[in-house]
């Protein structure tokens, strides 16, 4: 009997495949289907503080704009409230999900203010989430802010959130840190129980006919696995937190690689959005088959087996690897 189980953030999971934050978790039915298909845990869609503020101010703007200005129309839209605003809806969805499924539910939060991070982290905890994932989605655009200041702010934030909740805390990062290992170590020291590598940014595109910025979201491809794979392999064993690999997980192949690099779980979203929830059961059965064929007995057995610490050729993860790729390119016909 192959043991697919793993632990992540102190949660015992039946396998290492977790649904990462995506619109799929907005619907209870979809999560239930994912559970039935075998998903081990679900990270909920992200609650964005900016979106919360925007929603609130927008509603207020349109309900009050031009009100009490013209004798015949003192209001224009009926202020029918109460309004189920994003945070309420989110909390409600966490509660509903917890009732509907047995798998762990991980809340996801992207804040902008210290007060906001803490307030919403607590509300997600109170709603019954098993863990919380903080999404440090931030594009530094101010030339006056140094890397040090930025990192200090984020560390401070993680420490603050950690001290205000009791449930385990994971931090989802972008790959763009000058010294990722150092920063990751600081995060661990600040209280992060897990690290999710990496966030995929919405990258703006250009419409060259209209000379506009085009907002599109492309789903991931398996090739995107490489970046988090390398970093988890590098960090595994050096920083004592649970790693989750996200970006490019489309099949059992990527799950296996993630495990081998040292991740506790691998997270899937694009594939589910693209091919449907059936991808969960396919991936798990492929994983099982693969392990069976190769006589692996457990997931834990392979976790970290290809990390930098464990491989025969540690330099392969460093600059030498780059040299090798270039030379292999030259060898091509």
């Amino acid at each position: 009997m192959i043991d697919l189980s793993t632990t992540y953030l102190g949660l015992k999971l039946k396998n290492p495949l977790v649904a990462s934050a995506s619109p799929l978790s907005k619907k209870i039915e979809q999560v239930r289907h994912m559970e039935e298909a075998g998903i081990a845990a679900v990270v909920m869609y992200s609650l964005f503080e900016e979106q919360i503020i925007h929603e609130s101010l927008e509603l207020d703007h349109y309900l009050t704009r031009s009100a009490d200005a013209f004798a015949e129309a003192l209001t224009y839209l009926p202020d029918i409230g109460p309004y189920n605003l994003l945070p309420d809806k989110y909390v409600e969805n966490v509660e509903k999900l917890k009732k509907a499924v047995n798998i762990p539910v991980i809340g996801s939060l992207n804040g902008v203010s210290k007060g906001g991070w803490i307030r919403y982290a607590r509300r997600i905890q109170e709603a019954g989430a098993d863990a919380l994932e903080l999404n440090l989605y931030f594009i530094p655009t101010d030339p006056a802010i140094s890397a040090q200041e930025l990192e200090d702010t984020q560390i401070d934030l993680v420490a603050n959130v950690k001290s205000s909740i009791k449930i385990p805390l994971a931090v989802k990062l972008s790959p763009f840190y000058t010294s990722l290992p150092h920063f990751v170590k600081r995060l661990a020291a600040a209280g992060a129980d897990g690290l999710v590598l990496f966030n995929r940014f919405y990258q703006p595109d250009f419409d060259i006919e209209e000379l506009n910025i085009a907002h599109t979201l492309d789903l991931s491809t398996p090739a995107e696995l490489r970046l988090p794979l390398r970093w988890i392999a590098l960090l595994h064993g050096h920083v004592h937190v649970d790693f989750a690999l996200t970006s490019g997980v489309h099949s059992a192949n990527e799950v296996i690689k993630a495990m081998m690099a040292g991740a506790k779980v691998s997270m899937m979203a694009s594939k589910l959005l693209d091919s449907g929830i059936g991808a969960v059961s396919n991936t798990i059965s492929e994983l099982k088959n693969w392990m069976e064929e190769r006589e692996y007995t457990s997931i834990q057995q392979m976790q970290g087996s290809m990390s930098q610490k464990a491989v025969a050729e540690p330099s392969a993860f460093e600059r030498a690897n780059y040299m090798k790729v270039l030379s292999s390119f030259r060898d091509l016909p």
Partner: protein, 1192 residues
């Protein structure tokens, strides 16, 4: 604080009782009664129950006529039924009111009494509407204050059930319906003990039922009709006593005693004033005041006007009375006197009191102020040996000399009452904040509180004036705060100071608070001299706060409401400062809490930042300013504009005498050009190096403030230094022409639609377009000069312009300009297009609604004239009859044209004119501008040749010769008119086959009255009366019209395809038959950023929610399918379009599951509509123009 104290306005006070005492409520929105229906609908939507534990059923009908029909039906079937209405709405109910009364049916209609449209429409209050139903058989019960509205709503209901006579319960529109006051609320228990359940069961038992069938509503003949009409007399005779009985019972329950006539004043009064409504409050207070000073005067307030209780009136009148002045708030031209006056004269004559001298007078029409000084003037008139009869009070009538002189310095305001006035900008939230303050003071202290709000006539950049009173005793002052009476005066917009005199209201020694960009040390020098003078003379305490900066820093944007409210409490001392701040914050949480923490925080931040930015100004002893108040209109304006409109513009219209006004409601065109409103903070700036001269910016501008011209370069001589121009790229015209796009800086509202639509971008800096917004103040002077220069450049001759392309059509001068429409309005670009293409020969019938308000609300109006003095001739009849009204115009044009042609063919006239000219006139091709111009020349020739002729036919021909020039009749209105109230007429007019052009400005909601659902409202959108999202699809008006086969129909969206829009307008006008254009009009009611309105139009089309097409019956005659669908197959989901709009999005916040379901259905609607149109467009037509059912 007592638990049964509430702070509400009159409408809510009425609705609160009516909703609890009824089962069925059928309404139709009309100002100022709309909020009653809206409250009732909102309460039912929240499942609020009536007294008997069931939720009243509220339905919005297609018109007041429809509402009355539904009420009649519901009553006949036995339900407790009510309605709310006013003005024209009540008039539309008259036929049913006769029926309801004739059948002795218990009901109460609650009416916010309003003026009737006569020489002009007015939304404001008087008794013309209720006086027009006094003959229907309804009882009329008048309340005069917010408390009385609440109380009389209950008394009327209890009385009608017992009397069986139906009641109109009325109160003064705006003055009472919109006054906010602290009142004692009637509890459910109190209402229960007032209303007898057995009477309700009896009412029910009289209802129609097949279980015990009967016939009601027979046709009667000369033999019995008369007698049957007399059967009801005992019921009417009994009614006054029943009302008094209920009033007495009410007094036992609540302690508030009312009588059919309330007599107040000296017990042995010799002079008495009699009136009803809110004026009674003023008369009562004044009579008391004068009686206390020993004057033998009194006021009698009429409560029950119909059935007129003659006996009780005589009883109410002391023997001492020698003379009476009866005041009517109505006007009946040609009558022997106004109705209340005649009733009083009659009552006295019939009861042996003909010895009393009676005079009658009119007051308060259209919410004209009625003050204690006017009451005193009326009572003083009675002292005269020969008092004026049929007088007026409150105006200066220098024509018929009816008006009484009034000593405006007379005041009875108690010293202890605190009076506060606030001048705000509509969008800054001042009124909302003041309503909040009244609630705080009314409900958190023992003080009584009153608030009344005055709005100006525009929809953007409005000035609001708030009048607040607070005091330890109940406030009986239903009139505005008068000169020298305001203890506290606040100006929330600095630039108001240079526009009009507000400090005249400040009480000497009072407080003046100014929202100022300038601090306490620099503000003095920035004030106009007149303001400095008033501050010094009146020894005002002067405070400033930079509310703009605090608002900006705290995220409030332009809403300075919370800041100014905090400053008011901080300075006025009405509440201790700390307590006041706590209460403001509490109120903020209560008002905004449900909208989310961010809104609350933003307001809290504003409160906290206010105190530290509030400063007292050390007032210098002398006036030093070199700035003086601006003249409202420039000197070059016509005399009428300078003298009359100018006076109205500085809020001094009350002092315009009768002689200054036209006798028949006729006003000159083109007056908005004289009112420089300077609303825009930023205006578009033209970059000639990038401009491709496409004309799109000109087309979309809602206010016609951006224009293009091509002209001879030589005309640039003497151009101001900053005047921009470039060589013309129009190949149609001769070389060497210059081209300019010019903005009117003082008329622009800063909506940015022109920038949004501009397609020309800088290749090296994509963010820079041929139009970019820049701050207005530094550009104001130079661009004003440029605009004046630009306007003096002659327009290109219309004959040279082929309007079939956007760029060429936009060379035509707009003859609809600078209207009071909202910034970024989605309707006005279409109206402006009509004015450009056909304005010099257009007659416009305009339905009541937004377009009639921004199109014709005084002081200034936007319909304009060209350089030859020609322009659209415009009129408004009513809301419901606009199609018929326009058809009538067409009929006259056609008839006069026919008669003119007949006269031309008269032998003698033909001889006088010459055969060539006659033939040319009769056979003129007027399908193009040149042909029309040639015909105009011929008509001039006719007039010249026949001038001086003594022949009656020749004279006739001169008088109608203009009808030989092609006319363009336009029938314009919104969806409320076209889909609902005016639909029957519209259908008939389309069916008539006559050559009229109907333009429906479709905002998918009643815009002017504040967003009530119409049949045009699409599925899934939230609107008033569709609070849980409209569950049914939008009515397809175009499809219905297409069914005739001979109606030209187009559905357009300028933001999707401006060329298609232009083409539709040209084709519709050229079609010699009825045409219907349904135009997507984005609107603030939809909850969108109007600067993105055009993009939203595009999404609407792309999603299939708004397919665009043209249906041209002429194609069928050519054997072609008349339907040309011009939108592409839907390419985005409806939700992608809809959820950019709050009207759709808010349902996802209140009922997500329903929102999803309705959006799914809306998607289905779009798809099935698309499929149907596709099939229609694919039908093969044969050469006879018949669709043969085969698909191509």
């Amino acid at each position: 604080m007592k638990s049964n104290i509430i702070t509400v306005d009159g409408n809510e006070a009425a609705a609160s009782v009516a909703h609890r005492l009824n089962e069925v409520i059928a309404i139709y929105p009309i100002t100022p009664s709309s909020p009653m229906g809206e409250h009732a609908d909102a309460w039912s939507a929240k499942h609020q129950k009536n007294l008997w534990g069931t939720v009243p059923l509220v339905i919005e009908m297609q018109s007041e006529g429809g509402a009355a029909g539904a009420v009649h039906g519901a009553l006949q079937a036995g339900a407790l039924t009510t309605t709310f209405t006013a003005s024209q709405g009540l008039l539309l109910m008259i036929p049913n009111m006769y029926k309801i009364a004739g059948e002795l049916t218990s009901t109460v209609f609650h009416v916010a009494a309003r003026s009737i449209a006569a020489q002009a429409l007015s939304i404001f209050g008087d008794h013309q509407d209720v006086m027009a139903v006094r003959q229907t058989g309804f009882a009329l019960l008048a309340s005069g204050s917010v408390q009385e509205v609440h109380d009389f709503a209950a008394i009327a209901q209890a009385a009608t059930l017992k009397a069986r006579v139906p009641f109109v319960h009325f109160f003064d529109g705006f003055r009472t319906s919109h006054e906010v006051a602290k009142i004692f609320q009637l509890s459910d228990e109190e209402l229960r003990s007032l209303v007898d359940d057995e009477l309700i069961r009896a009412h029910r038992a009289r209802g129609l039922s097949p279980e015990h069938p009967f016939i009601r509503g027979t046709a009667q003949n000369p033999d019995v009709y008369f007698q049957a009409r007399e059967t009801v007399n005992p019921f009417y005779k009994a009614t006054p006593a029943i009302v008094q009985e209920v009033m007495d019972k009410f007094a036992k329950i609540t302690g508030r005693q009312y009588h059919l006539f309330d007599y107040v004043g000296h017990p042995e009064a010799e002079r008495v004033v009699i009136l009803m409504g809110s004026g009674g409050e003023t008369a009562e207070a004044t009579a008391k005041f004068l009686a206390d000073q020993g004057e033998k005067v009194a006021a009698i307030r009429v409560r029950l006007y119909r059935p007129f209780p003659t006996e009780e009136f005589i009883k109410a009148l002391p023997k001492s009375v020698k003379s009476i002045a009866v005041l009517d708030r109505t006007k009946e031209p040609g009558s022997a006197g106004e109705p209340l006056y005649l009733d009083i004269v009659n009552a006295l004559a019939e009861n042996g009191r003909a010895d009393i001298k009676v005079i009658g007078g009119r007051y308060g029409l259209s919410s004209k102020e009625f003050t204690p000084a006017m009451v005193k003037a009326t009572l003083d008139e009675l002292k005269k040996p020969e008092p004026k009869n049929h007088f007026t009070v409150g105006i200066t009538d220098d024509v018929s000399h009816t008006s009484l002189d009034v000593d405006t310095s007379f005041s009875i305001e108690p010293e202890e009452t605190v009076r506060c006035m606030f001048f705000g900008l509509g969008s800054d939230g001042t009124v909302g904040a003041n309503k909040n303050s009244i609630k705080i003071i009314g409900e958190e202290t023992d003080n009584f509180a009153q608030g009344y709000f005055v709005y100006d006539s525009k929809k953007s950049g409005t000035v609001t004036t708030s009048h607040l009173r607070f005091g330890s005793t109940p406030i009986h002052a239903p009139y505005l705060i008068e000169a020298n009476q305001a203890n506290f005066l606040a100006c929330h917009q600095f630039n108001f100071l240079e526009q009009f005199d507000m400090l005249k209201y400040a009480k000497p020694g009072g407080v003046f608070l100014l929202n100022s960009l300038y601090g306490p040390d620099e503000v003095w020098d920035k004030l106009p001299r007149e303001v400095q003078q008033a501050i010094v003379d009146k020894k005002l305490k002067f405070y400033v706060i930079n509310g703009y900066e605090v608002a900006e820093k705290t995220g409030m944007g332009s809403r300075v409401n919370t800041i100014m409210q905090t400053a008011f409490f901080a300075i006025s001392g009405i509440l201790p400062r700390e307590a006041a701040i706590a209460e403001i914050k509490h109120a903020i949480e209560k008002t905004y809490g449900k909208r989310g923490e961010a809104v609350v925080k933003m307001n809290f931040d504003a409160v906290d930042a206010t105190i530290e930015n509030l400063f007292e100004v050390k007032v210098p002893a002398a006036v030093t300013s070199k700035i003086t108040r601006r003249s409202p209109v420039p000197n070059e304006a016509p005399e009428f504009v300078r003298n009359v409109i100018g006076q109205m513009l500085v809020f001094d219209g009350n002092n315009v005498p009768v002689s200054a006004l036209p006798v028949d409601g006729t006003f000159p065109s083109a007056t908005t050009q004289w009112e420089k409103r300077n609303l825009a903070l930023e205006i578009p700036v033209w970059e000639s190096d990038l401009c491709i001269q496409c004309g799109k910016c000109i087309m979309v501008c809602p206010h016609a403030v951006i224009r293009q011209k091509i002209y001879d370069e030589k005309l640039l001589d003497g151009a101001p230094a900053t005047f921009k121009h470039m060589p013309s790229k129009f190949k149609e015209f001769s070389q060497g022409m210059a081209y300019t796009v010019q903005v009117a800086p003082e008329d622009c509202t800063g909506c940015t639609l022109c920038v949004d639509v501009c397609p020309a971008k800088d290749k090296s800096q994509a963010g820079r377009k041929a139009l970019n917004m820049a701050p207005q103040p530094p550009l104001r002077e130079s661009e004003s000069k440029n605009w004046d220069f630009f306007m003096k450049i002659p327009d290109l001759d219309r004959k040279l312009i082929n309007p079939s392309t956007i760029k060429n059509s936009q060379l035509l001068r707009p003859l609809f300009e600078f209207s009071g429409a909202c910034s970024g309005c989605g309707e006005t670009p279409y109206i402006k297009l009509v004015s450009q293409l056909f304005g010099d020969r257009a007659i416009v019938a305009n339905a009541t609604g937004c377009s009639s308000i921004y199109g014709a609300n005084l002081p200034t109006t936007p319909w304009s004239v060209d350089s030859k003095g020609r322009g659209p001739a415009w009129s408004n009849s009513l809301f419901e009859d606009n199609a018929e009204f326009g058809l009538g115009m067409r009929l006259t044009v056609d008839k006069q044209n026919e008669y003119a042609r007949e006269l031309l063919q008269n032998e003698e006239i033909a001889k006088a004119l010459g055969t060539d000219l006659v033939n040319a006139l009769l056979n003129a091709d007027q399908s193009h501008e040149a042909g029309i111009e040639e015909q105009r020349d011929r008509v001039s020739e006719v007039k010249a040749k026949l001038a001086g002729s003594k022949d009656a036919r020749a004279k006739d021909l001169i008088s109608i010769a203009d009808s030989l020039v092609k006319k363009s009749v336009w029938i314009i209105g919104g969806d409320g008119w076209a889909y609902d109230i005016g639909y029957g007429g519209l259908d008939h007019v389309l069916a008539s086959g006559r050559n009229v052009n109907v333009l429906v400005l479709d905002t998918e909601v009643y815009s002017n009255t504040g967003g009530q659902a119409s049949k045009s409202t699409p599925r899934a959108a939230v609107a008033k009366f569709a609070m849980s999202g409209k569950g049914l699809p939008k009515k397809d008006l175009g499809l219905i019209a297409m069914a005739y086969g001979y109606v030209y129909v187009a559905r357009v969206a300028m933001g999707y395809n401006d060329q298609q829009t232009l083409r539709a307008f040209l084709e519709a006008e050229s079609y010699d038959g009825p045409s219907l254009i349904i135009a997507y009009s984005h609107c603030i009611e939809q909850g969108i950023d109007t600067s993105l309105g055009l993009q939203q139009q595009k999404l609407a089309v792309q999603s299939g929610a708004w397919p665009v097409y043209r249906y041209d019956p002429r194609l069928a005659q050519q054997g072609k399918n008349p339907l040309i669908i011009e939108s592409k197959e839907p390419s985005i989901p409806v939700s992608q379009y809809a959820y950019n709009e709050t009207r759709y999005k808010m349902l996802t916040l209140t009922d997500e599951a329903r929102a999803e379901e309705l959006m799914r259905e809306a998607q289905h609607d779009a798809k099935s509509r698309w499929t149907l149109y596709q099939q229609m467009a694919a039908i093969h037509y044969d050469a006879d123009g018949n669709g043969n059912g085969h698909h191509d």
